[in-house]
Symmetry: C2
Subunit: 503 residues, 2 copies
């Protein structure tokens, strides 16, 4: 068989598996957005049947044969073809090397773990949760072993979400970030302006949902989300799912916190633009999938923060916002509205954190995860370690474990290694932002005219259209000409908040 | 293997195939309700991948082995077990006896046929559509041949939707119906009251969608639709899909025709109650599926017509309707509203027909379909035959084929044999209605108190919970003690419209 024939065969099989995966994703979306409670059992059965079909498609022996043949001819492949083969190998190994009984036992443990966590959180009972965490760590290490990464199980966990990422890299980046960010947070949070910003945000009350919906629809369309290739609905927790021509975002509305739905929608729009920007003809292969969760997060954060909290953005949208909500905004001067948009307040809870302190919540989790995997930290000592780290990093100490180590769902089903991508996304986003500004210094003037096309076009070409040809770290180097560094994020936070809060 | 073990194995395989079918149904619902236009290609790929998985599950050789074993022990099976085996055999033969290239060619022809029909209808060009119809007939006959029904292809078409139904039975029933109904329609449509009823209906204008939504939600809940196990959304054409704990209905709103969304929702609620009433533990086998499309239609028609057009029903709901729409209904006296609800007007278009004349539209289609299959009628002579039948049955003649033979989509993708179930459903519904009235003469007094529980309970027990143990004709005999007859439908139409229109 020629390489071209082998690649065509491989691509067809990959696309088949991918299409089934998109069905599973749609079922997941529907579960959050539409499913009546009585449909829960049937939905579980549907997901199980689909997982079986997906697994059969992803572990098809023909995939293994074609991969073997192509890997034997690696030197004759183009860069794109190598990327396709490498990514397919990664998925194929994961589909075939985990014994079926292990996969089942892990799924059952994940489900038990979730319920144990929910109980433990409600009862503020870490001791009742500790055995679950120990078991989850054990499962994670065994899984890494099956994939040949038994010697570096935490690296394996990171790599699952961001191909090629290692704990050593994350540690180096986070140490540098921490050094600058901890004093910056102290400085900002302690300023008199921080108090004024929080008061301004608290004054935004009584914004009807219909108006919020109209305004966020205008904003997200203007930014570039294509509603002929996607939609937005309501769910308990905002998320974005789907790809290509059918990208589905969700949000949630609170009449007394209109900026929440707006900024969460802009965040999801960033994810959605990435998915809409992948080349549809390559969906299912490395050329048609995002470059990992960190790069994904960079897109959501860049639009949410660098773009939508900028002066230029609000020069265009403030009159429109006031137009939709004349009564609610009449007594709020322009500078106060902008302060509300950029309110910063250290909090114990990650999901409530502002964009400055959010990063420290992630650093905290990374450091503890890493030590759990290396054995430096025992599960039973986790609550004390959490409190100590929270004091050091955030200057806050939780009065209980519910608002401390028990706050996140992630570890309950074994999702280790995911947290870092949130903060790496902020770093990547800031670095992309300054590169874009170098190329087009008048970017904020574009925004002030309601024109986001240059920025979107540049991201489309340099990030979205690249698919997974490169890892996030390779891609940022190619696009910006420099290695990933936290200094761009620190610069951005300093410029935005340092300036604003001294003003 | 014992019969119990074989049945357990069979049931597990059937449930697996059924669960995949429910995923396909959900994708279909989502396509009508949510899909952005850009997602059409991906949706087609998803349905194709799912159809492949479904076909693999439905043609699993283990199914054939288990069926063979159980059929060899038929005399030792209970009635329920025989029903399970017979229904599984029907599906298995259909999944395995049609050659793959035939299935593909037929699907492609169906898709081409749909587009050819849409073009021909727009251009009023029957000649351009005729070759498609000829090809579709040929495919239908070949399909019947593969399933061993080559000698009676139209019986096979009917049986696909209603197990056990034959053209001879339908013909006998329809001939009898026609004899009584044609003069009744002339009598009703020509009366002075008919004109008043149409004027009353035309006066209902300016009913905001939000109010319509609220009112139909109240009505459908009160009737018994369980919204913790289902939902209602908006689509271009109303339909009901899903089963068990997740039943999804749709409707569409017109501010100037508030009764349309209301009655179409009650119609879909009838379908939905049937699906919600199937025993969930048996979903996937004959004990957990409806008894065919005619019986399904009987449920939608019974709630839509016998129940929701009754005096008792409106004694309860009229004050509520006026409460939601005080301004819109102020000038409409009670008897006029009731006339509007029961307006009758012969029309050329089936989907716009009232419940009296609707049946004649079906008789017309059945008679032509039957002759097309027997060869008595050539496709090229269809337009003339349609016009003649329309004149005889409805007293109307279409000025063109667009409003005549080209009006329906069904034949364009080869869906022959489906039309009769609409009219058989009306007959079954009326016969069930009079049996219910015999058992509980005060049924309309229940409705006047807003109590629909006796009727729903009786249908649950006697129809819904029976699944497909019996064919529709067997089931109606068991429930009412008599063979299916059109005289109950004629009696009902005479009682409702004869009385009302003479008043």
């Amino acid at each position: 068989m020629t390489n071209d024939a082998a690649l065509a065969g491989l691509t067809a099989l990959l696309k088949r598996a991918h299409v089934l995966a998109t069905v599973g994703e749609l079922l997941g979306w529907d579960e959050q957005v539409n499913l009546p409670p009585g449909g829960a059992d049937q939905r579980a059965a549907q997901q199980a049947a689909l997982a079986e079909a997906q697994h059969a498609a992803g572990s098809d022996p023909r995939l293994g044969e074609l991969l073997g043949a192509l890997e034997g001819q690696r030197e004759k492949l183009t860069t794109d073809q190598r990327a396709i083969v490498a990514n397919a190998r990664r998925d194929y190994d994961r589909a075939t090397r985990l014994p079926a009984d292990f996969v089942q036992a892990k799924a059952a443990q994940g489900s038990r773990g979730y319920h144990a966590w929910a109980r433990a959180k409600a009862a503020d009972d870490f001791a009742g949760y500790a055995p679950v965490l120990e078991k989850n760590l054990e499962f994670a290490k065994r899984e890494a072993g099956y994939l040949g990464r038994g010697g570096a199980p935490y690296d394996y966990m990171l790599d699952r979400h961001d191909p090629g990422l290692t704990a050593a890299t994350v540690e180096r980046l986070f140490d540098e970030l921490k050094r600058d960010l901890v004093p910056l947070v102290r400085e900002i949070a302690g300023s008199a302006t921080a108090g004024r910003a929080r008061e301004a945000a608290a004054k935004l009350k009584g914004f009807p949902v219909a108006g919020q919906r109209e305004f966020l629809r205008e904003v997200t369309s203007k930014i570039g989300f294509d509603y002929t290739r996607g939609r937005i609905d309501v769910s308990l927790h905002p998320f974005c799912s789907g790809t290509g021509g059918d990208v589905r975002m969700t949000t949630r509305f609170n009449e007394d916190a209109p900026l929440d739905a707006l900024f969460s929608s802009i965040h999801e729009t960033g994810h959605g633009l990435y998915e809409q920007g992948l080349p549809v003809e390559h969906l299912g292969t490395a050329l048609g999938i995002h470059a990992g969760m960190a790069m994904h997060e960079s897109q959501s954060r860049l639009w949410e923060n660098q773009v939508a909290r900028s002066r230029g953005f609000w020069r265009f949208f403030e009159p429109r916002f006031r137009g939709v909500f004349p009564a609610q905004t009449a007594a709020i001067p322009s500078d106060e509205l902008y302060l509300a948009i950029n309110a910063v307040e250290p909090t114990l809870i990650r999901v409530e954190a502002d964009e400055v302190t959010y990063n420290l919540h992630i650093v905290l989790r990374f450091e503890l995860e890493k030590k759990l995997f290396s054995g430096e930290l025992a599960v039973r000592d986790l609550p004390a370690a959490w409190r100590a780290a929270s004091r050091d990093l955030l200057g806050l100490e939780a009065p209980n474990d519910r608002e401390g180590v028990l706050q996140d769902v992630h570890w309950s089903d074994g999702s280790f290694g995911y947290f870092p991508s949130y903060c790496l996304g902020n770093m990547l986003g800031a670095q992309l932002w300054y590169r874009a500004l170098e190329l087009r210094p008048g970017l904020e003037d574009d925004f002030a005219r309601g024109d986001f096309s240059w920025l979107l076009g540049w991201l489309r070409e340099n990030v979205h259209a690249q698919g997974r040809r490169f890892s996030a770290l390779e891609l940022i180097q190619r696009v910006t000409g420099a290695e990933l560094s936290p200094r761009h994020l620190v610069r951005y936070l300093r410029e935005r908040y340092g300036t604003l809060y001294r003003a």
